[in-house]
């Protein structure tokens, strides 16, 4: 079964943009606690640019939309999250080249994105970064036929809460060591919005 069409992928990006814009202050506040306070600003700027770009462009495939998003994020975000999200979407695009997006192919795309994030950032699961959320999503998709996509959001939500209890060892937050305890990782939170947006368009589509 096709879970994402070209149109839905565009909507996915729009749904992400809405969430990043609406939660810009929250993401920035999370980053002020354990980083440098730019994450919400970075994400809102990046996805605003993505939406500007894809709104004006015709696409033949889901892979092309994702590639466009990847290039835009890499060029407009900067920071740690720019290359990481840029790489994640680029790897998804590459994995979905000439393919329709069913659950199996989408799972492979997420696996590729996860590997890309790891390749750039060197993080392992449990280091209090966005990698944790992507890892969880990959795990979730590995389980047989997904019927209730809401469960994916729940899995992400649990992971975000888990990051609260972790000491960061990667990224800017690692400088604060134990002082990162009790704080949710900003990049995990923005990744949550990415997947929450995905579920919103998949659910609507089906």
């Amino acid at each position: 079964m096709i879970i994402l069409t070209v149109e839905q992928t565009k909507q996915w990006m729009q749904e992400i943009q809405k969430r990043m814009e609406a939660n810009k202050e929250q993401l920035t506040a999370l980053d002020q606690a354990i980083g440098d306070g730019d994450h919400g600003i970075n994400m809102a700027r990046g996805f605003n640019e993505v939406v500007n770009k894809i709104d004006d462009t015709e696409y033949d495939s889901v892979a092309d939309v994702l590639k466009s998003a990847a290039m835009t994020l890499t060029a407009k975000v900067g920071g740690a999250s720019g290359p990481l999200y840029g790489t994640a979407f680029l790897k998804m695009s590459m994995a979905l080249q000439d393919k329709e997006v069913n659950q199996q192919n989408f799972k492979e795309a997420i696996d590729a994105a996860l590997a890309g994030i790891k390749m750039r950032g060197n993080a392992e699961f449990g280091e209090k970064t966005m990698y944790d959320v992507w890892y969880q999503v990959a795990e979730f998709l590995a389980s047989e036929n997904v019927e209730d996509w809401e469960e994916m959001i729940e899995a992400c939500q649990a992971t975000i809460e888990d990051t609260r209890e972790m000491v960061a060892t990667k990224g800017r937050a690692s400088y604060l060591k134990e002082r990162t305890l009790g704080h949710v990782d900003p990049g995990s939170m923005s990744s949550f919005y990415i997947f929450e947006a995905l579920v919103a368009v998949i659910e609507v589509g089906n």
Partner: protein, 330 residues
């Protein structure tokens, strides 16, 4: 928030405009980029030097553009690493065929964005090397974590690498000199108050009148520890002890930098320097040269950092060589 701005989303753009308007004799901006380069770049026969990072560290990094220092500074959003395409534009603009050295501060974002740019440049056949500055002793040195941050010591890397490049040395030699500085430079900082990223509108943390953050970086973040405010001499002692415990400075000569974080009066920086000089003398460390002022700031954060660079003859020559950079004239 109270700032002298027009539009918080335009602060970087308007600053760049201001810099090129003020210094058009020596600095130009590459069209449609946030890259500032030496007016005469690329310089024939010379290795190109590119540094950069987020904005908010002024005079870093544009202030270090000029003969004897950097060829280009890539400017990101406030406290946010610039993107690979911008760094790539800088590399292209300063490569004279002798290759380009990227001077990167050790932050996940900076390292990733600069490395992606280096990959792009290599595809185009440009010879690119990089060095990563990690002088902040407040952070534990570990291969399992992100490692130490690059802070004010980076300015000495710009200076020495710039001098060696100006002398016509090869990319390998320039890189080796930069690595030597990195191996011998250590810094640590303290904050008495936080700063506000314009687009965020609120400061990153609040300190009471009787508190300070020890071991801060240059991005308005908290330090490694919040402690009661102490006298200048006591703070200096704390920072210097941690710095001098990190590498062996016994009987060595050092270049000292006392760097203001953006809102600390020169008066206080000299009160700091006074005690640095006294303590170094007691430790048998000779001051070869010193710089007291603002070199690597975090917007309007108040506080300072101390940097010690252990020097040998090559590094001394590098520090002494002519520099036309507006924030570091020698």
């Amino acid at each position: 928030m109270k700032k002298v701005v027009n539009n918080v989303d335009q602060v970087v753009e308007e600053m760049l405009d201001g810099i090129v308007t003020a210094h058009s004799d020596s600095i130009k901006r590459i069209d449609n980029t946030t890259v500032l380069v030496r007016q005469d770049a690329p310089i024939k026969g010379k290795v190109g030097l590119v540094s950069g990072g987020g904005s908010g560290h002024e005079p870093a990094h544009a202030g270090y553009i000029g003969q004897g220092m950097l060829d280009a500074a890539v400017v990101g959003e406030v406290f946010t690493s610039p993107t690979p395409d911008q760094v790539y534009e800088a590399i292209k603009a300063v490569d004279s065929g002798e290759g380009v050295l990227l001077i990167i501060k050790n932050y996940t974002g900076d390292v990733m964005n600069f490395e992606m740019a280096a990959e792009l440049a290599e595809v185009e056949g440009i010879n690119v090397e990089k060095v990563i500055v990690d002088d902040d002793v407040a952070v534990e040195d570990s291969t399992f974590t992100t490692g130490r941050r690059g802070i004010a010591g980076t300015v000495f890397v710009h200076k020495v690498a710039g001098a060696i490049a100006e002398s016509g040395a090869s990319l390998t030699e320039v890189r080796a000199a930069a690595e030597k500085v990195i191996a011998n430079v250590r810094s640590m900082g303290v904050a008495l108050s936080a700063c506000t990223v314009p687009a965020a509108g609120k400061s990153s943390f609040a300190l009471d009148d009787n508190e300070m953050e020890i071991g801060i970086g240059i991005h308005g973040e908290s330090g490694i520890e919040r402690v009661p405010l102490q006298s200048a001499d006591k703070i200096v002692e704390r920072l210097l002890n941690q710095i001098t415990a990190d590498i062996d400075y016994q009987d060595s000569e050092v270049a000292v930098m006392v760097n203001g974080m953006g809102a600390t009066p020169e008066m206080e920086l000299y009160i700091v320097y006074r005690h640095v000089a006294k303590l170094l003398a007691e430790k048998g460390i000779t001051i070869y040269n010193k710089w007291v002022g603002e070199y690597m700031t975090a917007l309007e954060m108040s506080g300072f950092s101390i940097t010690l660079l252990k020097v040998d003859d090559q590094l001394k020559d590098g520090l002494n060589a002519i520099s036309q950079a507006k924030a570091f004239r020698v």
